[in-house]
């Protein structure tokens, strides 16, 4: 939620860029930093036991406003935080000769679990009050400790295991299902049963193959995706924290992402905070819940692109059938 500022703030854009990352002094390959996604991937960097990642930062501030505005004592503060570990670490950037702001911030591995968020806040004295936030990055950077590829969107890990005999063994009671979605942890996980339908996973894992195989693959994948989205949505709204006015608070981590993506489809034409409030009210006061299910199903279907995938698959099946006719 954007706070309302009782004083003047930047209109121009504050931009932050991670220029380079060193891990225990060794430079991280550039492919692990994505400017487009504003993400850094620190996993599998060739060493398992590292201690400190140092991120070199560069920021661009709206120069004209800096010069003309009512602020003094400007500080350009990078903030690295992770909710799960209550970690918060800051560093000041300095203005370089080219007018950009530069600096570095350290990520200490033992203080982080999954994903740290990196933002930039410009702080100054406004109308005699020190420490006012006057500008901030619109979009935070993500620094991911468990990820090989720097992507913004978190993919759902899919674990293939034998539900009958594999790990974790609570899956045993689901031995006849092809997949289950677990949403209790820090990240949702889809468990795919290797023994439920013989031969199916070869098809699902494969690329190419016959048109029929492709249909099966797309159907299975989109069904799994739809299940996962539905489960994630329900988990994300199941236990919303509220602030002292009983306004539900946007949850952290993947729950936030799921809600931001699905709420516009579940309760269209409502602002995010309104939608959250509405859903929480329905849940706690027990009305309008059944009709919500239809919307959730619709939103999950849209996210998992069921219609699109199946249309494509059906067309290729049609073409294959055509080709077989004399």
């Amino acid at each position: 939620m954007k706070p309302v500022f009782p004083y003047q703030t930047f209109i121009g854009i504050v931009e932050l860029e991670v220029v380079a990352v060193t891990v225990d002094g060794i430079e991280l390959p550039y492919s692990k930093i994505s400017k487009l996604d504003q993400a850094v991937a620190l996993h599998q960097i060739g060493r398992d036991e590292w201690e400190i990642a140092s991120l070199r930062l560069r920021a661009t501030l709206p120069d004209q406003e800096i010069a003309a505005g009512p602020w003094t004592d400007l500080v350009c503060l990078a903030v690295l935080a992770e909710k799960a570990t209550n970690a918060r670490h800051t560093a000041r950037l300095k203005r370089a000769d080219d007018g950009r702001w530069q600096g570095a911030i350290d990520l200490v591995r033992s203080r982080h679990l999954n994903r740290a968020e990196l933002s930039l806040t410009v702080v100054g004295t406004v109308s005699g009050v020190a420490g006012r936030a006057v500008g901030t990055t619109e979009r935070d950077w993500y620094v991911d400790l468990n990820r090989d590829v720097p992507v913004r969107q978190q993919e759902i890990p899919i674990v293939q295991t034998d539900f009958r005999e594999g790990d974790p063994d609570w899956l045993r009671s689901f031995k006849e299902s092809l997949w289950v979605v677990e949403t209790t942890g820090d990240t949702p996980v889809v468990y795919l049963n290797t023994t439920a339908v013989e031969g199916l996973l070869d098809v699902v894992d494969g690329t190419g193959g016959t048109a029929a195989e492709k249909v099966v693959r797309e159907m299975t994948a989109s069904q799994i995706a739809q299940d996962a989205w539905t489960a994630m949505f329900h988990t994300a709204i199941s236990d919303l924290d509220t602030d002292e006015d009983d306004t539900p608070v946007m949850p952290a981590g993947w729950r936030e992402q799921v809600l931001r993506m699905m709420l516009p489809d579940v309760l269209p034409e409502r602002q995010l905070t309104d939608a959250l409030f509405n859903i929480n009210e329905r849940r706690t006061k027990g009305y309008g819940w059944p009709e919500l299910q239809t919307r959730i199903q619709y939103a999950a279907g849209k996210r998992s692109q069921v219609t699109k995938k199946l249309t494509n698959a059906m067309r290729s099946l049609d073409r294959a059938e055509e080709g077989r006719k004399p």
Binding site: Y7, A87, R88, H112, T121, A130, G131, T184
Partner: protein, 293 residues
């Protein structure tokens, strides 16, 4: 109730949230049933037994002593237990952020403590067995110690735990991840307590929400810069735990000597927080007093 409940395992493990949901029964929440330790143990992942800090016995002994000492008034146990649990279970924040470790304690090692401490009317809430860091029976204590200690000094932790609203309200806020902010809140409350002000819990709530609200436009990190913690000192303290004697019961243990909160930084915030508290309307307690009073 099973007749042959397996003994408590000697080492800590990791138990998924899903396992708690599956096996936590109303009977366990009421303290009338024993946990299905065999089934739970199968679902958990053991931590390396070679690491002494994962041995269960010191924690179990601590909890027994807490239940013994504070049997008439369980909430009083928090201030005694929080620093001692923190100094016994020596670990990094990354390790402590893994809820599975706390699930193992609440479900396998000491469900009796959870019920003893948190039973209201008939049962202890599910969130005391598995839940966010500020609610779960054990993680709330560990994190209170971690977030309110000043380097090796656990005294501010005692103040925080004495005022239950600090644990229930203040500890949820992101602003207290900035150590001087947390320290200033505690010192201001301590000052109010010393001057004999009544309704300290209400004041803690009012102060916390005022500080939090002001924090959306005021950047405390700039007003009161914090020093980064000495990570090597923390690592040494964790390693030293293997040879350290059990925590003392009648005086405070020493925490990791990884850098105290700068009093200079706290002093920069105190007048501001005092003003915020004075200007905020002292809310009447709205919610019924049902939790932890």
């Amino acid at each position: 109730m099973s007749r042959n409940t397996p003994a408590i395992p000697s080492g800590l493990g990791l138990l998924s949230d899903a396992a708690v949901t599956k096996y936590l029964s109303r009977g366990m929440q009421a303290g009338q049933e024993k946990p299905p330790r065999g089934a739970l143990a199968k679902m958990s992942v053991a931590l390396p037994e070679t690491e002494e800090r994962w041995h269960v016995e010191p924690v179990r002994r601590l909890l027994d002593e807490a239940m013994n000492r504070f049997d008439g008034d369980p909430p009083l146990a928090d201030r005694w237990l929080a620093p001692r649990l923190h100094a016994t279970l020596r670990m990094t924040r990354a390790e402590a952020a893994d809820s599975r470790r706390w699930n193992f304690l609440s479900m396998i090692v000491a469900p009796d403590y959870v019920v003893w401490r948190h039973r209201r009317r008939e049962i202890a809430q599910v969130a005391r067995f598995v839940g966010p860091h500020y609610t779960q029976a054990f993680s709330r204590l560990w994190w209170a110690a971690e977030l309110f200690r000043s380097g090796e000094d656990y005294r501010p932790v005692e103040v925080a735990c004495r005022i239950q609203d600090v644990l229930n309200t203040t500890m949820r806020l992101d602003v207290i991840d900035h150590r001087p902010t947390a320290a200033a809140i505690i010192q201001l409350l301590q000052r109010l307590e010393d001057s004999g002000v009544s309704g300290l819990g209400d004041r803690a709530n009012t102060l916390s929400s005022a500080v939090n609200a002001a924090g959306s436009t005021l950047v405390y990190d700039v007003l009161a810069p914090d020093e980064p913690a000495d990570e090597d000192a923390l690592a040494d303290w964790i390693t030293a735990g293997a040879l350290a004697p059990a925590v003392p019961w009648d005086r405070l243990p020493d925490g990791p000597d990884d850098g105290a909160v700068s009093q200079h930084a706290v002093d920069a915030l105190l007048p501001l927080f005092e003003r915020l508290l004075a200007e905020a309307p002292l809310r009447q307690r709205q919610r019924a007093v049902e939790e932890d009073e």
